[in-house]
């Protein structure tokens, strides 16, 4: 395109006034850059360049009125102006007066209204004859109206098939004037298909079902559902969601689920790989001491401990009563009455398991660290059997010969620290158990007996229980049962 003509800036606007040029002769413009501001009856409109190129002429100065379809800008290069199609696009309102039949299959050109509401016109002169090839905008005929003689241009290119009328005939407006050889596709392609702008046209054929594809509606049961906050927390902590156990409604992973996994991880990290500034000269823990450190810090991280203290009056005991046996017996009795403390707690799943049997972990001090050997089924054993077990464990702890299976599966723990010193303590629960009973130093003290002060032998007791697994009432009833059994003479 060499000459750019003013397009219709509205819908059927006849002209527009040059408001301001944005380019001058000699400028290089790119496509879509503004050429000029034009003021129409409706608004001031920026007219963009239809192409890139060098401008060699501007038609009109600010204030001049340019007719729609008239030259606006001339480019340095490009094909000589063949504005037929462009003009059709640019003056769409002429389409209204030209029969729309152009777009349809039949190829008859009807006489357009040559003025404003003129009913007819007389054929003054034909410029073509049947069989002629004619190009768009070439004159078909001179028509004489009540007002003037008007050249009627051809609306399209094609071969003339028939002329409707001879010179001197009067043709009614909208009556057939000329028939073209039927090449309707030509006519359609010349129709821009819009009165404003440009519609993108492509010959691309779409091969697609009207209803699209039918997706596989997998309701994947293994699909992980997680709160977005949980997802981001897990991602930042580098935790795979699949390793987590959901506790939210409908199996949704919650923020707490991720946090639970986080504390577990950090507990391991804290005890296995030391963090923070190293203490000079400190030696890493090994073996039993290391195990104790891990078990205790895990306990500290997870368990919600409550410690309950009280005394058992053991004044009625005969001489040489086996203290440890009596403590074990009292624990067995209390476990029967209040089984919630003879249990394991699953931190990850917030689940607990109550035990019918009592496997008693017995805290034993040694030079290497804390040992908690387990006496299985203490409820089924006699005092003598228990004493033998305890003695065996003492020996095995001392010479480090205790089999690992005897250090596992305790359901409740007894710590008899009172043989050294200390009345009360807050004993630490060993996961996954939920209770530990501590026995302090036996001593004599003044007690109220039958309304008088008396000196009795008493046993201080400290019961720590995991409040996630048991209620305060359950723990208090458990301790009461222990005391009641301990206060029996035999």
């Amino acid at each position: 395109m060499k000459i750019f003509r003013l397009p219709d800036l509205g819908e059927g606007l006849p002209d527009a006034e040059v408001n301001q040029w944005h380019v001058k002769v000699g400028d290089e413009v790119k496509a879509d850059e503004p050429l000029v501001s034009m003021e129409t009856a409706k608004a001031v409109v920026e007219v963009p360049a239809p192409r890139s190129g060098k401008i060699i002429k501007l038609h009109g100065n600010a204030g001049d009125i340019i007719k729609t379809g008239a030259p606006l800008v001339e480019f340095a290069d490009g094909e000589e102006d063949n504005a037929s199609v462009k003009t059709t696009t640019a003056t769409p309102k002429t389409v209204t007066t030209e029969p729309t039949k152009q777009a349809s299959a039949d190829a008859i050109f009807h006489l357009p209204d040559l003025g404003e509401g003129l009913p007819d016109a007389e054929i003054n002169q034909w410029h073509v004859k049947e069989g002629d090839e004619i190009k768009t905008d070439e004159p078909l005929a001179s028509m004489e109206t009540a007002k003037a003689v008007v050249e009627v241009p051809s609306p399209r290119s094609g071969k003339i098939k028939k002329l409707y009328g001879k010179v001197g005939d009067i043709i009614k407006t909208h009556a057939p004037l000329v028939e073209f050889e039927s090449t309707s596709t030509v006519a359609i392609s010349e129709d821009a298909g819009t009165v404003v702008g440009n519609i993108e046209v492509s010959g691309q054929i779409l091969d697609e079902s009207p209803t699209g594809v039918k997706p596989l509606r997998r309701r994947k049961t293994d699909k992980i559902k997680a709160l977005p906050a949980a997802r981001i927390l897990a991602k930042n902590a580098n935790i795979d969601l699949i390793t987590l156990t959901p506790t939210g409604p409908q199996g949704i992973i919650t923020v707490n689920d991720v946090k639970a996994a986080l504390t577990q991880t950090s507990a391991t990290v804290a005890t296995t790989t030391p963090t923070g500034p190293a203490i000079e000269g400190a030696k890493p823990l090994r073996g039993v001491r290391r195990q104790m450190a891990i078990a205790m810090s895990q306990s500290h991280k997870h368990i919600v401990p409550v410690t309950l203290i009280d005394d058992a009056d053991i004044h009625a005991w005969p001489k040489k009563t086996d203290i440890t046996y009596r403590l074990i017996r009292a624990i067995v009795v209390a476990c029967k009455q209040e089984p919630t403390l003879n249990a394991w707690f699953d931190t990850q799943h917030n689940a607990r398991k109550l035990h019918d049997e009592v496997h008693l972990g017995l805290a034993m001090d040694s030079a290497d660290g804390l040992f908690v050997p387990v006496i299985k089924n203490v409820e089924k054993q006699s005092a003598k059997q228990l004493r033998e077990h305890i003695n065996t464990y003492k020996t095995q702890v001392r010479d480090r010969s205790i089999p690992p299976e005897n250090l596992r599966d305790g359901t409740i723990t007894l710590s008899n620290f009172g043989m050294f010193a200390g009345k009360y303590a807050n004993p630490i629960i060993v996961p996954p158990t939920v209770a530990i009973l501590g026995c302090g130093r036996l001593h004599e003290q003044v007690v109220a007996a039958n309304g008088k002060p008396e000196i009795h032998r008493v046993m201080p007791l400290s019961l720590t229980f995991d409040h996630r697994a048991a209620t305060g009432g359950e723990a208090a009833r458990f301790l009461a049962a222990v005391i009641a059994d301990l206060q029996l003479a035999k």
Binding site: G197, I199, E200, V201, G203, R218, K223, P228, R231
Partner: protein, 325 residues
């Protein structure tokens, strides 16, 4: 049977239904003799005469009012607004009368009307010719809002819209009026309203879009697939009522969703989709729902039009964001 464009499919559907149902009439500015500003109604006046193909004065309020009256009294009018930007004088008739006719008369009368309008930008048109305000109508109870994206869906959905006993806003994406052609048998088979169409199945991300944005979305999906991203594409087609179940099922599978629309962002249909995913599909999300939309600004003239309409690069960037979240 030749392949036809979207606008030709609109014409084909109108012609088919007019031939089958004498109650169907079409009306609008320049739709008769001229054949419509985009040629959607070309030749109809020759086939069915000026009584059923009515050239109206330039008065959209009257067009809408006439349509409501004809529909309430037993005809099935299909009104054309030359551009969506000119529908607003008829907004009162559509919202206050068409949408609530059934409710107001307690079911005695209904309003089986279709209000057609070309919508959206991208054709270098003047002011008022380029906006996408489908959300205005989607917000109104009693209206269906349907937007086809291919010739076949334009045909099937328009037939369904005409047969629908309640008013339908039928918005035609003019930017792709003639962009592709498709084989569309003139068999009178309607497509279901009220459902989305899954155009392509994928596992990594769900792209939800409608209208002309299908073009950029498909192009973006092609590039993403070259990078190994498996993309599911949903053409919403009926933005009101919204078939959220199809979208939720997809998001459950992919865990990521990017909504693409040409309309300005605030309070648009994309906001509704994102909200419903948040309400019903939050636990499936691996990343927040992203919206790739036009700007909260007046649709600009030619030069900035391309910057306004979301392009492939913006869609791809939003998808990458969800993947890297």
């Amino acid at each position: 049977m030749a392949e036809i464009t979207l606008v030709e499919a609109v014409n084909q559907a109108l012609a088919y239904e007019m031939s089958q149902d004498k109650d169907v009439v079409v009306l609008g500015e320049d739709i008769g003799v001229n054949g419509g500003v985009f040629r959607a109604t070309v030749d109809l006046i020759d086939k069915y005469g000026p009584e059923r193909v009515i050239d109206t004065p330039l008065a959209e309020s009257m067009i809408a009012g006439l349509t409501v009256g004809m529909a309430a009294q037993g005809l099935k009018p299909v009104a054309e607004f030359q551009f969506m930007g000119f529908i607003y004088p008829g907004f009162n008739q559509i919202v206050c009368h068409a949408a609530r006719m059934r409710n107001r008369t307690r079911g005695r009368l209904s309003c089986p009307a279709v209000f057609r309008a070309p919508y959206g930008g991208g054709i270098h048109a003047p002011e008022h010719h380029s906006e996408s305000t489908e959300a205005l109508f989607a917000h109104i109870p009693g209206l269906r809002v349907v937007i086809p994206s291919t010739p076949a869906r334009a045909y099937g959905l328009l037939l369904a819209a005409i047969r629908e006993p309640d008013p339908v806003i039928f918005l035609e994406p003019k930017r792709i009026y003639r962009f592709v052609k498709q084989h569309v048998p003139d068999n009178g088979e309607a497509l279901p309203l009220d459902r989305c169409f899954v155009l392509q199945e994928g596992n990594d991300v769900t792209l939800v879009t409608w209208g002309a944005m299908i073009k950029e979305t498909l192009a973006a999906a092609k590039q993403l697939q070259a990078q190994g991203v498996s993309v599911e594409i949903i053409d919403v087609a009926t933005v009101k009522p919204l078939d959220i179940e199809t979208i939720l099922a997809s998001v459950e599978k992919t865990g990521r969703c990017v909504v693409v629309h040409e309309a300005a962002k605030t309070c648009a249909v994309g906001a509704e989709i994102a909200a419903q995913i948040a309400e019903k599909g939050l636990m499936d999300l691996h990343a927040p729902v992203q919206r790739v939309t036009g700007f909260d600004a007046v649709m600009p003239y030619f030069k900035l039009e391309k910057q306004y309409i979301p392009d492939e690069a913006k869609i791809i960037a939003a998808v990458q964001h969800t993947l890297e979240f």
